[in-house]
């Protein structure tokens, strides 16, 4: 396998994970553990195929996917912020609702519980083959990647600038880190959390659209297959910091790309797939352990003094 092919494969595998990770990161900074990324992605993937296939317009499918994911995020915001539902329970409820809802629509309206496969599906814009061939190694890897891959790459610096270099981002972080301080500065906590969920929905919608529209052009129940949770794991491993989170997401995407190939070396793919989750647990444990060590009382040396 050439370096270019590996790079292309990593880009492809990483993009939904990276978008999911950023989606989880933006809520984590508002102090919300967003377990609903998976469900929002799934709903978006389904919408992309359903609307794209029905309208024959890739753009419409793409936009509809994002809108649906944002609507799901705002449903979560409504129930948690307005009706004080628990974030975890309601988030998992969103996942079930997305899984159950898409399956229900498949069975009821498409009569095909196995999935949704429009006969003709419009292509979303891809970087033309051959257009970047002058850039060695990297150029060809980007060829034939969808526009969403580019958006994902752009989303990293954008989310960094948003969090650290806009007043809104500061307010959001303040609301997440210290509600008391934020409130006394006149920041509306609930509004910031709803905003973070909306951005999260936008990013999860992009992730879902990429999964369905990039190459596959069909929808399968459970086609997200845990990528939302891998994204969450990447965010936790990256400590909610944009660059670290991105690095973790790309690393996990790299393992995913490597996963199939590793079976050659008799390493079952399940163990490769496990790495993100193990990394998240170990990363968190290690971070807490260091804090634990730091907070230990100092030894008394001069007892007689």
């Amino acid at each position: 396998m050439t370096l270019t092919a590996l790079l292309a494969s990593v880009l492809e595998q990483s993009t939904p994970i990276l978008l999911a990770a950023l989606a989880a990161m933006i809520t984590l900074r508002a102090n919300i553990l967003n377990v609903a990324v998976e469900g929002m992605m799934l709903a978006a993937a389904f919408t992309a195929i359903a609307v794209g296939g029905w309208s024959g317009s890739a753009l419409q499918g793409f936009l509809a996917a994002i809108v649906v994911a944002i609507l799901f995020s705002q449903l979560l915001a409504l129930l948690t912020l307005r009706f004080s539902a628990d974030f975890i329970v309601a988030g998992l409820g969103i996942n079930l609702l997305a899984a159950g809802g898409t399956l229900f629509i498949l069975e009821r309206y498409y009569n095909s519980p196995g999935g949704l496969r429009p006969i003709a599906f419009p292509e979303i814009w891809h970087i033309p083959v051959g257009s970047l061939s002058r850039i060695p190694v990297i150029g060809p890897a980007f060829e034939d990647q969808s526009i969403i891959v580019l958006i994902a790459i752009l989303a990293v610096p954008l989310s960094y600038v948003f969090l650290y270099h806009t007043p809104l981002g500061s307010n959001l972080r303040a609301a997440g880190e210290d509600e008391h301080a934020a409130r006394s500065a006149g920041i509306r906590i609930e509004r910031m959390k709803a905003l973070s969920l909306a951005i999260s929905g936008l990013l999860a919608g992009l992730a879902g659209a990429q999964l369905a529209m990039d190459k596959l052009h069909f929808f399968l129940p459970d086609m997200t297959s845990g990528r939302g949770f891998i994204g969450l794991a990447a965010t936790l491993f990256g400590g909610g910091l944009p660059w670290m989170t991105t690095a973790a997401a790309v690393l996990f995407g790299f393992f995913g790309a490597l996963g199939d190939r590793l079976q050659v070396f008799a390493i079952p793919s399940q163990f490769v797939l496990m790495l993100p989750y193990l990394a998240a647990i170990l990363g968190l444990t290690f971070a807490r352990w260091r804090i634990h060590l730091r907070n230990r009382p100092a030894k008394v040396t001069d007892e007689s003094a």
Binding site: V161, G169, D178, A181, A185
Partner: protein, 511 residues
């Protein structure tokens, strides 16, 4: 003084929470450009008064005149718009953000409409810092700052938006003595820049050091206003405490038999992660039948002392003995078995589970001794009877055995905790801040129980930041300051002057 010089004038402010009056009648005039101290004991109503000025509470009665206009302060935002800046005891800073970001949180300067103008923010913060000579790095994250530095950031936050009147609520409660001195310098600087400062405290030394005038509040009333230069610390103390406080006290003192030590600490030392000594070589004994009072300003090691004796925090050096037995590393149940009863300083924190029933709260740690377990199961009838007995014996009002403890009032919760801890007839009763937040009736009840326990032969270690309480109950008084036991006085030799000096870190005069 003409009206024009008065920035703030309160007339007959009153405030009740339910049945309980927190403020009865407060009059106060604050002159422009002065540092005015509001002084009073814990529970006198200082915090309520400040919360009214900050817009957190609304007064039940009375008038509030600011700059010659009668105003109502609906909420904290309104207060800030009126030019009132409040620095709370609990900081409102975001730890991961820089000093500049914190100062401008919620109202950052912008660039291109949506971006933060970080440079302008830092420059303006630096300008503010320079103007008040605060010695802070505007780009340092707040989490790297000391408590004293954080407080200055908090003050800057208020000043950044042109607060004319700055309220500092117990600003020294969290500071170490050198930091207190620095803060006093800061306040002097504010005055020289023409700001008006309202400074809340119950520490006499600070009153003299910082203020132009002082208003004393007692039991929700403003009792006096003086020019600070005209009065002594003793005068202020008299106003703060009033005379009636000394009337509560022990009458049975002479009849008690003082026995052997039930608790002995020998050079007990506790450190934090940075190596600072929270307890520094504390040694003393509590003998059977006596009340040993620990006086001191909050945060000088009393909490750590209690946790060390109760077995809830490990000590790094020294020994703790109950009678003859070394209990330095013993578990809580072992200490209970050796005779410890522990009433913690915060009943909601360590004292109770508010969602569990009254019966289960009072039975905790007593299941075995009270014979509540039969064949491995908790006998419901015995539990109910046991709880009923305690409710009656300790006059816990509004309680059924099945009532969640959180439904009770503070005083009744406290009675519940005391009922549980006295059930075991402890030979050592460790009781902390026993009447915090309690009304007079409940306080008297608690005092009586403490004295009864001592009469019965228990050694009582009483930790309180209420001096009046310490004087009323103790046979001997130890004073803590900055983790050290500054001295131990017999009740007969102790007076407020001597204890006050020790509480502020002064050495005992060789007299």
């Amino acid at each position: 003084m003409t009206d024009r010089d008065i920035i703030l004038s309160l007339g007959g402010i009153a405030k009740s929470f339910g049945e309980k009056p927190a403020l009865v009648h407060v009059n106060l005039d604050v002159a422009r450009g002065e540092v005015h101290v509001i002084c009073g004991e814990n529970g006198a109503g200082k915090s309520t008064l400040m919360n009214i000025l900050a817009g957190i509470h609304q007064p039940s009665a009375g008038s509030l005149v600011l700059n010659g206009r009668t105003v109502t302060i609906a909420d904290p935002i309104a207060a800030s718009r009126l030019g009132i800046g409040m620095v709370h005891q609990h900081f409102t800073l975001v730890p991961s953000m820089t000093v500049a970001e914190n100062i401008f949180l919620g109202r950052q300067p912008r660039r291109f409409a949506i971006l933060s103008d970080g440079q302008a923010m830092v420059e303006r913060a630096a300008e503010l810092i320079a103007r008040y000579n605060f010695r802070l790095d505007p780009e340092a994250p707040v989490r790297t700052l000391s408590v004293g530095q954080r407080q200055r950031v908090e003050i800057l936050k208020a000043l950044a938006f042109d607060a004319e009147l700055l309220i500092l609520d117990e600003p020294t409660a969290v500071l170490t003595p050198p930091e207190v001195d620095e803060l006093i310098g800061v306040v002097d600087g504010l005055r020289s820049k023409g700001r008006t400062v309202l400074f809340i405290t119950h520490k006499l030394r600070e009153v003299k050091a910082v203020s132009d005038r002082v208003t004393v509040i007692r039991h929700g009333r403003s009792v006096s206003t003086h020019r600070t230069a005209d009065v002594t610390e003793a005068d202020i103390a008299r106003d703060m405490v009033g005379r009636d406080v000394f009337l509560v006290g022990r009458k049975s003192g002479g009849m008690r038999v003082i026995g052997d030590a039930v608790l002995a600490l020998d050079r007990v030392t506790m450190t934090n992660h940075a190596g600072r000594r929270l307890l520094d070589r504390v040694s003393f004994e509590v003998r059977a039948g006596e009340v040993f009072g620990i006086a001191g300003v909050d945060g000088n090691g009393q909490t750590e002392l209690a946790e060390a004796v109760a077995g809830l925090m490990p000590v790094q050096a020294g020994t703790i003995r109950f009678g003859e037995r070394d209990m330095t590393v013993a578990s809580v149940p072992a200490r209970q078995a050796a005779g410890l009863g522990y009433v913690p300083e915060d009943r909601l924190d360590r004292g109770l589970s508010v969602t569990m029933s009254v019966a289960e709260n009072v039975a905790a740690a007593n299941y075995g001794r009270a014979g509540l377990v039969r064949n491995g199961l908790v006998s419901q009838s015995r539990l109910a009877t046991f709880a009923d007995d305690k409710i009656r014996e300790f006059d816990v009002r509004g309680a059924q055995p099945a009532t969640p403890a959180g439904w009770l009032s503070g005083g009744n919760m406290q009675k519940l905790v005391i009922a549980r801890e006295l059930e075991r007839q402890p030979s050592l009763l460790l009781i902390c801040q026993p009447t915090r937040g309690l009304d007079i009736g409940a306080s008297e009840f608690v005092y009586k129980r403490i004295l009864d326990a001592a009469d019965r032969g228990a050694g009582v270690l009483l930790i309180s930041s209420e001096l009046s309480e310490i004087f009323a109950l103790s046979d001997r008084i130890g004073v803590m300051y900055s983790g050290r036991l500054m001295g131990v006085l017999d009740r007969a030799d102790a007076d407020e002057g001597r204890v006050g000096v020790l509480m502020n870190g002064g050495a005992e005069q060789a007299a």
